[in-house]
């Protein structure tokens, strides 16, 4: 048995490496397709497929091939898959990355192999600093948290408790919200954190309720929003007079329809709503739903869709040259109209610049949506902007 297996491995690895690198550009798409973050993987994978269905698989004379891998959100697996994609499949671009640790673990590979790493989901500010080959098409938490703080102060919210998931993006959200809120004259009563894995919000919510703050500011990762809202309602906090304000991860389009009327009126700030009013977005939502059995696209999906657009446009600019340095140079400064609105890649930080919308959850045509009512245009990542 054992020998046979070893021989199989040996035989597999001897398969000739098919070298038609001249006419094919391969993209290694690493996503969590199973496990806790599976919804992120599903959304991005669907968006990437949609993009290729709409725009074809050939760009600048090259065939673009996407190789999908499941990293189950385990960073050392992400890293190994990235390494294998670079070494075996000779991918020109690494893309995807559902959670911050996965993106961070891969950054050294991107640097070493000079392969662009297109981050389509993870939202910790520092990721783009981990390698000069990282470029992001999703968002940073601070981009949403800072406008949320400004809006809160302007609208009579004076005392706030924050509650975030205890990992990179959560800490970013907590810090950028609190700093701006205090700078504008507000008071942060307490900063509460819940573990990222298997969170139980109940004790933290009780603590928050006891503070009698004006509002509770919340960040939880994509996919955990529904569970949070359920416990929020079970505790009766929606009726206690404390407002709920959040980053848009909480009222995630993917889960919003199932959250119930308790979330109606929740104010949040984010980069994308399926309800965004533009012709491009309407056709995007329609095509996405049609291709995925009625699934509503969320902010993760546009990260994937725009990530593909970024790669396609960069290839057009280089005339099909897929070498890492040239692609990176082409990506810097690119600007285009996305389903979420106008976006661009900051040439200095390689991070995304986009509009942030203040939204309110409302019922439209019998379904819950984040309805945008204010726009803060061209928001750069505030964490990196503050460092300058």
């Amino acid at each position: 048995m054992l020998r046979r297996e070893i021989l199989t491995i040996a035989a597999l690895s001897l398969l000739p490496v098919v070298a038609f690198a001249q006419d094919t550009v391969k993209i290694g798409l690493i996503l969590p397709m199973t496990g806790q973050q599976a919804s992120t993987g599903k959304q991005i994978d669907a968006a990437v497929k949609l993009y290729q269905a709409q725009h074809g698989t050939t760009v600048a004379g090259k065939k673009v091939e996407v190789i999908l891998k499941d990293d189950t959100s385990v960073p050392d697996v992400t890293k190994r898959l990235a390494q294998e994609l670079v070494v075996n499949d000779k991918v020109a671009v690494l893309a995807g990355f559902g959670i911050t640790p996965s993106a961070m673990a891969t950054a050294p590979i991107a640097t070493q192999a000079k392969v662009p790493e297109v981050v389509m989901a993870a939202g910790t500010s520092s990721i783009t600093e981990a390698s000069p080959f990282v470029v992001r098409t999703s968002f940073t938490l601070a981009q949403s948290a800072v406008p949320m703080a400004e809006w809160a102060v302007k609208n009579g919210i004076k005392r706030v408790v924050t509650m975030v998931s205890d990992y990179g993006p959560g800490i970013d959200a907590e810090k950028s919200f609190s700093d701006r809120f205090k700078a504008e004259g507000g008071t942060i009563i307490e900063n509460l954190r819940v573990p990222m894995r298997a969170p139980d919000f109940a004790p933290v919510l009780q603590k928050a309720a006891d503070t009698k703050a004006d509002a509770l500011f919340v960040f939880v990762p994509s996919g955990a929003g529904a569970q949070f809202v359920k416990q929020f309602v079970e505790r009766g906090l929606d009726k206690g007079g404390m407002k709920l304000i959040a980053t848009g991860d909480v009222t995630d389009d993917d889960q919003l329809a199932g959250m119930g009327d308790a979330v109606v009126g929740v104010i949040n700030a984010h980069n994308y709503s399926a309800n965004h009013d533009s012709a491009l977005n309407k056709s995007y939502v329609e095509a996405f739903r049609k291709a995925n059995g009625g699934l509503r696209p969320n902010f993760m999906s546009v990260g994937g869709y725009d990530g593909m657009h970024l790669i396609y446009e960069a290839l057009k600019k280089t005339g099909g040259d897929a070498s890492g340095d040239k692609l990176m140079a082409a990506m810097k400064g690119l600007a285009w109209e996305s389903p979420r609105g106008p976006i661009s890649i900051d040439p200095d930080t390689r991070d995304i610049v986009q509009n942030i919308y203040i939204r309110k959850v409302e019922k439209k045509d019998g379904e819950l949506y984040n309805v945008e009512f204010a726009t803060i245009p061209n928001v750069k990542d505030p964490v990196k902007a503050a460092k300058k």
Binding site: I6, T34, L68, R80, Q83, E84, T100, P101, A105, A130
Partner: protein, 321 residues
């Protein structure tokens, strides 16, 4: 035949074993491409070997073996970051730290029966997972321990992108520790462990000091798991909370059960089967591979490993007479 002769016959090297190790080392010469996977297999094999020492030989069932794996990984990672990037001393330090933890927790584990042991081992791993989660200054929390730069192997060979150095490092470590384990299980000490597993009361009536033997093997097993964790940390230059995850403990138990407990090659065979299956299945069906993996395990459990092996052999005999 004397007793000594029969035991030394059991401990003799057989041809398939020699071929197995020759093949494992020959895999180093393969063209680059599969060394990263082979490295992971070698690490999981060492981890499964460590679990086999307590489960297969001493009969201690554990659902929290990742506690030692993770401790070794974090020890190696922090040592690399704070003291010296030299991988060899890092490995040694990780082994010592994990062994110390093993010795300390063995006192808890040995108190109860099987069910209690399951709970206690599980609890120890959970506690450590939370400790690592709650100390982001040290461990990086859920973001993982970053900024490790591991020095070259033997002062010469850098860990490359292709993973050949990594595989060589892991394989040699596995081989050395395997030799040691092989020596131990065939020694009177190993035989006394098997006696304890089969009938603890009778073993103690024969004068075997059950308690100290179990403490010793539990500590040894923890040291092995720590070595496996250190290898993972050093060859990927990254440590995340997942090293302490329950999934990690469950995976190694699965791998060991696939390969078979109570013989040293069980962990090795299981690690190969588990990782190759995972790799092939998840490449062909990224969303549904866990279904096929689960189906395989159910079939394996229902049909039984021996019968499955015989069936395959019978089939092969028919196809290739």
């Amino acid at each position: 035949m004397s007793v000594t002769a029969s035991f030394s016959r059991r401990a003799r090297w057989r041809l398939p074993e020699i071929v197995f190790w020759l093949l494992a080392f020959a895999a180093l010469l393969l063209p680059p491409g599969k060394h990263l996977l082979l490295n992971e297999i070698a690490i999981l094999a060492l981890f499964a070997l460590s679990l086999d020492l307590i489960l297969g030989y001493a009969g201690i069932i554990s659902l929290g073996h990742a506690a030692f794996f993770g401790t070794g990984a974090y020890a190696a990672g922090l040592f690399c970051k704070l003291v010296t990037p030299d991988p060899h001393t890092g490995l040694a330090v990780a082994i010592v730290v994990a062994a110390a933890l093993g010795a300390a927790t063995s006192l808890l584990v040995l108190r109860g029966s099987d069910l209690t042991r399951l709970m206690v081992t599980l609890a120890v791993a959970l506690v450590l997972h939370e400790v690592a989660n709650a100390l982001p200054l040290w461990t990086g929390g859920a973001d993982g321990l970053q900024g490790m730069t591991v020095g070259p192997l033997l002062g010469h060979f850098d860990f490359d992108l292709y993973g050949r150095t990594a595989y060589a490092y892991s394989l040699v470590t596995l081989f050395v520790l395997f030799l040691l384990a092989r020596r131990i299980v065939h020694s009177p000490f190993g035989l006394s462990l098997m006696a304890i597993r089969r009938n603890p009361l009778r073993a103690s009536a024969l004068g075997v000091p059950n308690r100290s033997r179990l403490i010793a093997v539990y500590t040894l097993s923890a040291a092995y798991a720590g070595a496996a964790g250190a290898l993972l940390a050093q060859t990927t230059a990254y440590v995340s909370l997942e090293v302490l995850d329950f999934q990690r403990s469950a995976d190694v138990l699965l791998a060991l059960i696939i390969g078979g407990t109570g013989w040293l090659y069980g962990g090795l065979a299981g690690a190969i089967a588990f990782k190759v299956l995972q790799d092939v299945l998840s490449a062909s069906a990224p969303q549904f591979w866990m279904f096929w993996m689960g189906l395989f395990l159910v079939v394996l459990a229902l049909v039984g490993r021996e019968r499955l092996g015989q069936g395959v052999r019978g089939l092969l005999a028919k196809v290739m007479p």
